[in-house]
Each structure stands twice: as structure tokens, then as C-alpha cells.
């Protein structure tokens, strides 16, 4: 009996020694990275939220003082209230705009569909704070469009509210985020199997009834997912409320205020925790209410003659989509025009000049280089990390893969300011690894926040990859590393590339994380634009924004041409 046990043990030992350890060594890299740069900062944030202001990181004495401000301070209560009002209103208005638009483009026979889909995505790829300041030019106190609108509204005894404050924030955010709802509901309306609707029609249901009883219930999961995405984005957006908030604060700007105004990391941690709780709650809501109603929609191609073709519907749909696009792209157009002028007066741009562009090399070459360096390096790191973690969770399925899954996706929902606060509290001057003020901390923030893009993209490619392709390679005598190099990697490369390019494009315009982490030496292009707007140098800000938007657009468009996808599909992952 004892001998048998011994033999068993020896067998197990030899089994362990015969294994190929390369995968374990390779996989430990992302794990260590995640523990140091994600778990540790989040833990310190959690602890510091319960420490009184001014105390450095320690395990006690704990208090709820930081949270009590939510019941005592008007500023805190106002911020929380504003965050909720804004997020819910933005969700409401994006649904109001996006769902009909998705329906029209999917179901009505109308021209320029591809163009509408491509232009529809633009507001999401553009830096949202650029949109915000353009709206100031248009609808601000001396705004170009404001007087005309007021003239029109005046007939009904109304007046356009100030662009500074809740109205402006909700207005700008709605126009920034409606593409999520539009594209997701477009996809859902497209994907509903026409046979289901035809079946209802054969059973005698009229078009309206089919829409109500068949089509809408089938698209609700996608539309709901879009709504949650918008909610989370609206909750976490820093640029728009910072630019348009005036004296109205929201949670992200409140965090900025605590850090920049008081250097109160503990207080900021508490606010961060509250905002994480809210986004977490939103996600849970999605998981338990919406994903339960997810249906398998078997896509079948929709033939032209099933589309609405009544002329009235076609005109309404085309005009509707045209107006929405025009309004949502107005800031980009304004910005472009403004970049060639010195001032924006009440009757339009004044003083044509090219100086805004010719000055760029002298005033902004450093931030541009910084942005390019940070975005490139971070994208490559994201690619490696996202690729490895996707491979582990998809192929190895180790015990606890779900934790890894959650860990990698967590920063996806964390507002940028929250990630910054976590990194400051984990790697501040008093930490074992002081990183504040360096490029490294910005890089870490970028990598942590954007790895999910690559991760998702690679997971999608891997799930399409038949595991027997890899098994066939092992059978043929190839080790894990050889198999990965020659078989797995080349086949998932398109997924890695599209995830990485998307990451690069979004990092170039990153503001909400950088704003708390940059120092004089690590200013980025968006920070420079932000500063120019704050100083009232709209011409300079417009020229820099145009440059930024141009680069982002070229990169994304180039990728889509290269990989043969449409721009809109690369944003479906969020």
C-alpha cells in the first residue's frame, strides 16, 4: 500500500517534470503585471477611502469621514445628484435619437446608408472635450448659432438655456454618445431574422403589431447593452463637465477638484469608490435583467423589397438622419473652420490666418511627441498583455480563469479619473514604488485602461480559431512556443492588429486619466488643447484638435481599409 503511494508520487513528479513549462513562464508575466498595477492600486484606494484626509497609506485608524461629506457637503450632494441627472438624461436622449435612427437605417430604403454609418461613428472617435468647446463657440453667450435659435424660440416665449451647466453637458454628451445606441440598435434591427417577422405577418399581424410584439422584444437586449454603455461613459466622462460645468460639479470633476485643489487622495479615493459602486451597479443590472432576455438571433440576409419603401417614410428617415448627423458633426466642422481664424465673434469667425498651424511646431511639438510616444508604447504593451491574457483564458482555461477575465475587464468600466486616483494612491511619493510625475505612471494607466480593447478583440478571434489546428501542430511535434508562433499567432493577428489600432486611436485623445497624472515634462496633446481652451486660445485649440482628429481618423480608416472591415464594426466591442 505504502509502496503504491510512493510509486504514485513518483509518477506525478515525473509527469510534472516532463511538462512544457514555457506557457507557464510566459503567462506569469501578465499576472504579475496585473497584481502590481491593478490589484495593488485598487486595494490602496479601497483602504485610503477609509483613512482621514492627509494620512498616508496605513491599515487604520479607519473612519467614514470621507463618505460623510456625501451627507453633509452641498458640493458633494450636488455632484452626486448632477452625475445621476446627467447620466440618466443622456441615456434617455441617446435612446430617443439612436433607436429610431438605427431602425431607419436598417429598415427603410434610403440613400447613403454606408455614409451614414461611417459618419455616425465619428463623434465617438473624436475627443469629446473638443466637441464641448466647439459648442461653446456655437451656443455660448456670444455664440454664432445662439441668436438664431433664440429668435426662433422667442416666438414661443422661450430661450435657449446657457451652454454652461447641466443643459450643455447633457446636450453635448447626448451628441457624443448616441452612436453607441444607434450602431447597436442598427445591428440588432438588421440581425432579427426576417422569417420571424414574416411568420407573424402570415398569422395575420399588422406591421405595427409585429414591431411591438416581435421586433422590439428581440432588439431590447442590444439596445439595453447600448444604454448601459452610455450610462457608464456618461458617469465617467471628465472632459465635457470640466469644460461646460461652470459651478456645477459631477463625480469625475469632484475627484479632480479633491486631488488638484487639496491633494486629498483619501477623499478622492472615497469619491472614486462611490462612482465605482454606481457603474458596478449598472453592470449588475445589465447582467441580471437584460442578458437574461438575450435571444439567439439567426441572421439571414434581408432582401431589398422587405424594407419600408413608402415615400413619406423614406423622406422622414433621410431628413431625420441628416439632421442628427449635421448637428452631431457641427462641432467638428466648427473646429475645422475655427482653426483658420483668430477669433470667433458673434457673427462668425473673424480674421483669417494660418498662424494657428504654423505655430504648432513651436508651441506643441513636445506634447505631440509625448502623445505619440505614450500612445505607441502603451498600445504595444496592451497588445502583448491583452493577447497573452486572452490566450490563457480562452485556451488554457485554468482554474480561476473567470477572475482573470474580471480583472482584465474591470478597468474597462472604471472611469478614467478613478484609475488615476488608484494609481496615485498606489504609487505616490510615499509608496514603495514612487511613479507620480513620470511617463511610467501614464503608461501604466493607459495599459490598464485599454488592454480590454485588445483582449476582447483577440478573444473574439480565438473563439473563431479551431483548437484542433493547435493540437495538430503539437501532434506534428511542435512545442507550445513553436505552435504559438507558427499557428495561433498568425491566425489571430488580424484581431490583435485591430484591437491595437483602436487602442492607439483612443489613447492619442486620452484626457480623463492623463489630467490627474501629467507633469510639466509629460504633457500630452489633449492636455495642451485643454490648456489652450482654458486660456481662451480657441484658434490654437482648434488647430491642434483638427490635427488630432485627422491623425485619429487616418489611423482608424487605414486599419479598416487594411483589414477590410467597416469602421462601425470595430466599435461594436465598445
Amino acid at each position: 500500500m505504502a509502496m503504491k503511494a510512493k510509486e504514485e508520487k513518483r509518477g506525478r513528479l515525473s509527469r510534472v517534470l516532463q511538462k512544457d513549462f514555457t506557457p507557464y513562464l510566459v503567462f506569469s508575466i501578465p499576472l504579475i503585471f496585473l497584481v502590481i498595477f491593478l490589484v495593488w492600486p485598487l486595494l490602496t484606494t479601497l483602504v485610503r477611502a477609509f483613512l482621514p484626509a492627509g494620512r498616508t497609506f496605513s491599515l487604520g485608524p479607519f473612519s467614514l469621514a470621507n463618505f460623510e461629506r456625501f451627507s453633509t457637503s452641498n458640493l458633494y450632494q450636488g455632484s452626486l445628484r448632477n452625475s445621476f441627472i446627467i447620466s440618466f438624461s443622456v441615456v434617455f436622449f441617446t435612446l430617443l435619437i439612436g433607436v429610431p435612427m438605427g431602425y431607419f437605417v436598417a429598415r427603410v430604403k434610403m440613400p447613403f446608408k454606408r455614409l451614414i454609418l461611417s459618419l455616425g461613428i465619428l463623434p465617438v472617435i473624436m475627443p469629446s472635450f473638443v466637441g464641448a468647446f466647439s459648442w461653446v463657440l456655437l451656443l455660448g453667450r456670444q455664440g454664432f448659432a445662439r441668436s438664431y435659435i433664440n429668435m426662433f424660440l422667442g416666438m414661443f416665449g422661450m430661450e435657449l438655456p446657457s451652454i454652461y451647466g447641466l443643459f450643455g453637458i447633457i446636450f453635448t454628451m447626448t451628441l457624443t454618445y448616441y452612436p453607441f445606441v444607434f450602431l447597436l440598435s442598427y445591428g440588432a434591427f438588421e440581425a432579427v431574422n426576417p422569417l420571424l417577422e414574416e411568420a407573424a405577418m402570415l398569422m395575420g399581424a399588422k406591421r405595427k403589431r409585429i414591431l411591438r410584439t416581435i421586433t422590439l422584444p428581440l432588439v431590447i437586449p442590444s439596445v439595453g447593452a447600448g444604454a448601459i454603455l452610455v450610462f457608464i461613459r456618461a458617469m465617467g466622462n471628465f472632459g465635457i463637465p470640466a469644460m461646460l460645468g461652470g459651478d456645477q460639479y459631477v463625480l469625475p470633476t469632484l475627484i479632480y477638484f479633491r486631488v488638484n485643489g487639496f491633494w486629498d487622495i483619501n477623499g478622492a479615493s472615497a469619491i472614486a469608490l462611490v462612482s465605482v459602486a454606481i457603474t458596478g451597479g449598472a453592470l449588475l443590472l445589465q447582467k441580471f435583467i437584460i442578458s437574461k432576455r438575450e435571444y439567439e438571433t439567426i441572421s439571414a440576409s434581408r432582401s431589398e423589397n422587405e424594407l419600408h419603401s413608402h415615400p413619406v417614410i423614406r423622406i422622414v428617415a433621410t431628413v431625420y438622419c441628416g439632421i442628427i448627423l449635421l448637428v452631431s458633426l457641427a462641432p467638428q466642422i466648427t473646429m475645422f473652420v475655427m482653426s483658420f481664424f483668430t477669433r470667433w465673434g458673434s457673427s462668425g469667425p473673424e480674421g483669417f490666418t494660418l498662424a494657428n498651424y504654423t505655430r504648432i511646431p513651436t508651441i506643441a511639438s513636445r506634447p505631440i511627441l509625448n502623445s505619440l510616444f505614450l500612445a505607441t508604447t502603451a498600445s504595444l504593451l496592451c497588445a502583448i498583455l491583452g493577447c497573452l491574457i486572452a490566450y490563457i483564458t480562452e485556451r488554457r482555461r485554468p482554474k480561476g480563469a473567470i477572475i482573470l477575465d474580471l480583472a482584465i475587464m474591470a478597468p474597462f468600466i472604471l472611469p478614467g479619473t478613478v484609475v488615476s486616483v488608484a494609481l496615485i494612491s498606489g504609487f505616490g511619493g510615499d509608496s514603495w514604488l514612487p511613479l507620480t510625475g513620470t511617463f511610467a505612471i501614464i503608461l501604466v494607466a493607459y495599459v490598464i485602461r485599454r488592454t480590454p480593447y485588445v483582449f476582447r478583440s483577440v478573444v473574439a478571434s480565438l473563439s473563431q480559431l479551431d483548437p484542433t489546428l493547435e493540437e495538430a501542430s503539437m501532434i506534428a511535434g511542435a512545442s507550445w512556443l513553436y505552435t504559438f508562433r507558427r499557428v495561433s499567432f498568425p491566425l489571430i493577428l488580424p484581431g490583435i492588429i485591430s484591437g491595437t489600432i483602436l487602442t492607439f486611436a483612443t489613447l492619442l485623445q486620452e484626457l480623463s486619466t492623463t489630467i490627474l497624472l501629467y507633469s510639466s515634462g509629460t504633457r500630452t496633446l489633449p492636455i495642451q488643447i485643454w490648456g489652450a481652451v482654458a486660456d481662451g486660445k480657441f484658434g490654437e485649440a482648434s488647430a491642434l484638435s483638427t490635427l488630432l482628429v485627422l491623425v485619429v481618423f487616418i489611423v482608424v480608416y487605414g486599419m479598416n481599409r487594411f483589414l477590410g472591415q467597416s469602421i462601425s464594426s470595430s466599435f461594436k466591442t465598445g
Binding site: 509518477g11 515525473s14 509527469r15 516532463q18 511538462k19 512544457d20 479551431d466 484542433t468 489546428l469 493540437e471 495538430a472 501542430s473 503539437m474 501532434i475 506534428a476 511535434g477 511542435a478 512545442s479 513553436y482 507558427r486 499557428v487 498568425p490 491566425l491
Partner: protein, 371 residues
């Protein structure tokens, strides 16, 4: 070069959301150069056994030997084996030549040898001219992909070739052609081969020997002839060829001759059956009696004391005509199949007929266990 494969008490249990005992206790040996078929219904463990043989799954307990070498813990890429997958698993990002050359290049073989070996193996599998155009494998037909997959698995002279339902993705006619091709190639290379399939006709046609599996256990091993004529139990008898079952009770035995009471109408018959090893029969025991469709005959209804049934469907299958006959047994209807060499005059669908039992053939199995 080609080696034997021995399994010693091989067990494999999948733990996960639910525990599955895929292989319960499997021990047997495959001889060098043999073309061995693993046959069984889906979920019987045949693919698991193949994957364990390849090292793609680790065993829960037990040992696997190639010749005298214990390979139980050796990872697949150190085993020198070839495998053809059901999906073929050809690499879409490589052309045909690169696909076939893969295993050679992994082994660091110099390029001139790679070239000659690939050309040689493509000749053997009957695709000599595909290398001229050398397209992506996705541009090939199913049958050609199949041949490329076989070539890729054989090009580096493996000790063992494993085929996981390799014909499942082909249409019926091509399947019959390819199974002859696989047998031809296997006999030329003489590599020990395991062929997994759920198609009994395929297994009987291709295998030197076969193993019938059920629920993680091996029910019987032997040549198709042995298994067809001497099945170990009712399940095997019905899996290799069709078997009609009747429940019965032994009323008397006399040497090798048994008298059995069958069916509801207490039809009594005596015959000299093959007695399966799983049944010890004595007077009064309940048993399952089995007859192959070609053993039974249809005759017009005449006197009492015969088993009667109603013809449900008459199928013309070419060399035989199959009568599906519904009989009643213990209050339940069941269908039996009777193959006749020609049409029985005056019998049509829906007619009542009598079944004629043979006296010299038939099988006795333990009660139950037909499926």
C-alpha cells in the same frame, strides 16, 4: 518503426460542471502495423481514448505504452505520432506544401529532404499535381483536403497514426472511396493505425480488428467477421449488423438445442443458437433471443402456433428486400426487420403475415441489454 500500443487499466474522468467517467477501465493491445477501429455510439469514449493515446488528454489513472515505452506522461509533441482530425485542421494561412511540410520543418529537416519527402507523400496519397499550383488548402475539395491531412500526418514517418472520424465530413460516395484509399495507404506504410468512427459499415470495411465501445468500456474486440458471427452480447450484435430481439423463456435444453417460449402468444420454437458468453442458460431462465434479418422468413398466415405480425413497410434495398414487420410483445408493439431475397408473392404493406424461425442459427443473450 511502427509500434504496438498497449493500454493498462486506462481511466479518464472529466471533472467540471458535471463529472463524466469517459473511460472506466480499458486494457487491451494493438499490434504493430495493425489498422484498428474504435467503434461505438457517440459519447462512448472512443474519441477520448484516441485523444489519450495522442497525449492530448492526460489520464486519470492507468498507463499507455508504445511498444515497451511508457508514454503516459509524455506530451504529444515528443511522441512522433500522426493524427488526422475530423475537421482536417489544415492551416488556412499556409499553402498545401507548407501544411504537409510542417512536421518535417518542426523536426529541423533540411529543405531538400523536405521537398523530396513532401513530393513522395503527395504521390502516395494520390495528389501529385496539386503541388504544382500549390494553393491554399481552403481552395481544395473535401476529398483533397482529406488527402492533404493524411499526407501531413504521415510525412515524417510517425510510429502511430491516429484518425478521428476522418471521413465524417465527406459525402457518402466519397466516404466509401476514401476508406478504401486509407486502407491502401495504411497497408503501404504499415504504420500502426487507430481509426475512430461511429459508422459500423465503415469500421467493418476498413479495420483489421475492431473494438466496440460503450459507456467508457470495451464490449468486444475482434475481426469484423468474429464480432458479426460471435457477438459477446446483445448490444454488440445490434451495433455490428442489425439484430432482431425477442424476449423469451427457456423451457428445455438438450445439449446445444434449446426450446424457447417467445412472445405474447406463447409461440414455442426450438433451435441451435450461439450462446453469448454473458449468459448462463438453464431451464426456466428469461433470455433475449436474437435473429439477424436474413435469418427470418415471411410466410403466409396458416395455422395457430406461429408468430404473426403486420407488414408496415417494404423497402427495396437492391440485393435484398427488407420487410418491416410490427409484432406485439407483452402488450407493446415493436418493429422487426426481415430481409428476403425476393418479393413474397401476395404480401403487401398492411398485410398480416407469419414469421418463420430458423432451426440452425440464432443467438441467446442475457435478458435486457439490447441497447
Amino acid at each position: 518503426m511502427s509500434s504496438s500500443i498497449s493500454y493498462k487499466d486506462v481511466k479518464k474522468t472529466f471533472t467540471g460542471s458535471q463529472v463524466v467517467h469517459a473511460l472506466k477501465k480499458v486494457s487491451f493491445k494493438i499490434e504493430p502495423g495493425e489498422l484498428f477501429c474504435l467503434l461505438g455510439p457517440s459519447g462512448c469514449g472512443k474519441t477520448t481514448l484516441l485523444r489519450c493515446t495522442a497525449g492530448l488528454e492526460s489520464l486519470t489513472s492507468g498507463r499507455i505504452f508504445y511498444d515497451e515505452t511508457d508514454v503516459t506522461t509524455i506530451p504529444p509533441f515528443r511522441r512522433n505520432i500522426g493524427m488526422v482530425f475530423q475537421s482536417f485542421a489544415l492551416y488556412p494561412h499556409m499553402n498545401v506544401f507548407e501544411n504537409v511540410a510542417y512536421g518535417l520543418r518542426v523536426r529541423g529537416v533540411d529543405e531538400s529532404t523536405v521537398k523530396s519527402k513532401v513530393t513522395q507523400i503527395m504521390d502516395l496519397v494520390g495528389l501529385p499535381d496539386v503541388l504544382e499550383r500549390n494553393p491554399s488548402p481552403t481552395a481544395l475539395s473535401g476529398g483533397q483536403q482529406q488527402r492533404v491531412a493524411v499526407a501531413r500526418a504521415l510525412v515524417y514517418d510517425p510510429q502511430i497514426l491516429l484518425l478521428d472520424e476522418p471521413l465524417a465530413n465527406l459525402d457518402a460516395k466519397l466516404r466509401r472511396h476514401m476508406r478504401a484509399e486509407i486502407r491502401r495507404i495504411q497497408k503501404i506504410t504499415n504504420v500502426t493505425t487507430i481509426f475512430v468512427t461511429h459508422d459500423q459499415e465503415e469500421a467493418m470495411a476498413i479495420g483489421d480488428r475492431l473494438a466496440i465501445m460503450r459507456d467508457g468500456l470495451i464490449e468486444q474486440i475482434g475481426s469484423s467477421d468474429e464480432i458479426y458471427h460471435n457477438p459477446n452480447n446483445a448490444f454488440v450484435s445490434n451495433f455490428i449488423g442489425k439484430m432482431n430481439f425477442f424476449s423469451g423463456q427457456i423451457t428445455s435444453t438438450q445439449g446445444e438445442r434449446y426450446t424457447v417460449k417467445l412472445g405474447k402468444e406463447d409461440y414455442t420454437m426450438s433451435f441451435t443458437p450461439k450462446v453469448a458468453p454473458d449468459v448462463a442458460v438453464s431451464e426456466g431462465d428469461r433470455v433475449t433471443v436474437g435473429f439477424r434479418p436474413e435469418h427470418l422468413k415471411i410466410k403466409p398466415v396458416s395455422t395457430n402456433g406461429e408468430m404473426q405480425g403486420r407488414v408496415r413497410i417494404i423497402q427495396h434495398l437492391g440485393q435484398v428486400i427488407r420487410y418491416e414487420v410490427v409484432i406485439e410483445e407483452q402488450g407493446q408493439e415493436r418493429t422487426i426487420e426481415i430481409d428476403m431475397l425476393g418479393l413474397v408473392r401476395g404480401v403487401g404493406e398492411g398485410d398480416l403475415i407469419a414469421i418463420e424461425f430458423p432451426e440452425q442459427v440464432g443467438f441467446l443473450f442475457a435478458e435486457g441489454g439490447e441497447d
